[in-house]
Amino acid sequence: MSQNILRAHGTGGKSTHELINKLFLPYLKNDQLSPHDAAQVDWPEGNLLVTTDTTVVDPLIFPGGDAGKLSMTGGINDLLTRGAKPKFASMGFVLSEDLPFGIINQILKSISQELATHEIKVICADTKVITSKEKSTLMINTTLIGSMINPHFQLRGIQKGDALIVTGSLGTHGLAILQARQKLPFKTVFESDCASLFSLLEPEIQRETPISYMRDVTRGGLAGILHELAGQFNIGFELSETSLPIQPAVRSGLSLLGIDPLEVANEGVMLVTIPQDHAKELLTSLKRHPLGKFAAQVGIAVESSRTPVVMTTAIGGKRIITWPEALNLPRIC
């Protein structure tokens, strides 16, 4: 078997068969993985929750994670926002010619670790090979199917007066990826926060903490997510600059590049809204968990307005936070 992906691996012939058997199956195999063209599973438990995500990340392996871990944790956190736990996974892998087997191996290993930790079974999967003029790459589509962790846990939606809590510090993933991609010569090696938040938030769901809404603070950063929610719930948000949990090194790194930490993607931070009366209790509980040690209340939900997201700055001025519009391109100086 060759050590890089060849066009032949996508033909459906013997090479494809070997690729699947030798590389993919050892990591993905389980008693529910279907040998047929379609998988069939039993589903006795009421509501079915489904999420899908396609992971396209450059570089494929970065400090703090890789495309495989990201492809699982993204979906797990997405289901978690609705109070659900994944049970089954469907996965599609698009591999480009010349991709080294070693990289695929490492990525599959990360996937299998997350599958084991969360007791998720892959029930169907697919591979395709594409040609790529640029450097070799790998894209992963993950669909997760799950059920409610606690059928009594209900999200009433965000209302005026709700506290905005983020479960971790902001901006780290985006900066880690930029640094790894561009080989930025910072002394600090930034590590992505890429993580499943299941163990952090599952207990809150079990004990029916009166959380009103949850949202994974990924692409678009906190600024983008709040604008989406403002439209969805016809509400506004007031942030306080001094309470934003941003690590000093991350703040400096992003500021050097001219990038706003509020617009940077995170992969292990949840926005949780909860009536203000319960905010303190939730924060105390989150902070006891290693994934929640930087959790902080960053603001409050307010009446909707023409400029729905406003931040009180450190010196007491106001800054309107706008939709992140353009690509995050670093500035010159």
């Binding site: 561009q182 080989k183 930025l184 010569p185 590049l257 001219g258 706003d260 400029t307 009180t312 700055t313 450190a314 010196i315 007491g316 001025g317 106001k318 800054r319 309107i320 706008t322 519009e325 353009a326 690509l327 391109l329 670093p330 500035r331 010159i332 100086c333």
Partner: protein
Amino acid sequence: MNSKIPMTTGHSSEEIRIMEFCGGHTHALVNAGILQILPKHIKMIHGPGCPVCVLPANHIQALIDLVENFPSLTIATYGDLLRIPTLKGDSLLKAQSRGKSIRMLYSPLELLAWAKADPQQEFIFMAVGFETTAPATALLVKKLQAENIQNVSILCLHVLTPPAIEAVLTELSPAERPHAIIGPGHVSLVMGLDPYLPLSKKYHLPIVVSGFEPSDMMESIKIACDMLGANNNSVHNQYVRALQPSGNLEAQKLMKEVFELRSQFTWRGLGNLNDSALKLKPHFDSWNVEKKFPLQYQDVPEHPQCKCGDILRGKKSPKDCRLFLKACTPNLPLGACMVSSEGACHAYYQSGGLP
């Protein structure tokens, strides 16, 4: 701030106009919400210190045309420049989407590795920026020469701060002219304080060289007001924690070795200014794009309603422009001041047009 830092000055009831030259300072003023809490009689004028904003788009158009004619070339430049709109809404970013090889870099020295890894590929570096980025370009040129790397050439479009300040001062009428100037700390980290002395003397202006934190900005505004009150027209270093008055002598030496003045350079908004930009010395012709490639310049007209020129001259504010927030946004910028995050329009956009 009104209560904590009294703006004591002899001009107390009259308007005090202070120009922050640098786009980074404009950004800091807006982002920290300082403009809203300044005493009413202090008016900040936003200067032209945004390297992307003052670069005429015809240079970018010329490079796009070049790479269309020679598809094997790679153009490398800073991220900000990729979005600048050129003819018919084109840009380097769009050329990249069409499959042209356009690469973003963070440090010019990255080109050394690229060039060595791919010796058959010809790289063009579009070198832009004030005195802050010029030393890095000079270092690149010296290293290309030392290592005899021939597949990188430079389009040197570096510009200088003092001529731009002077252009704004002469352009504005006495009733519009700033009473004091806040100068960029990072330019002085390279050049020191001396380049400002003639300006301060000629125009009887206090010049405060400032850091970039909100507290730096507030302190610098306060110092400028105090200097005005004391009739002290000198150059003051607020950025003492980082800035030696002499600047970075090593960087200055490097720049002298590699660059010479262009007798004329056209700035966006400011027009033709004498001795205001840098080019490579003839000694480095083998790395000079202008000597190696047939660059053809054509006019890239501004949008007829775009007020970037007046904004760069300190005559108008973004809010005076009819396109601002309507037709012109960071996603679809019509003028350069909206493209760069240091542009006044972009800074105002980010605060929803608040100040």
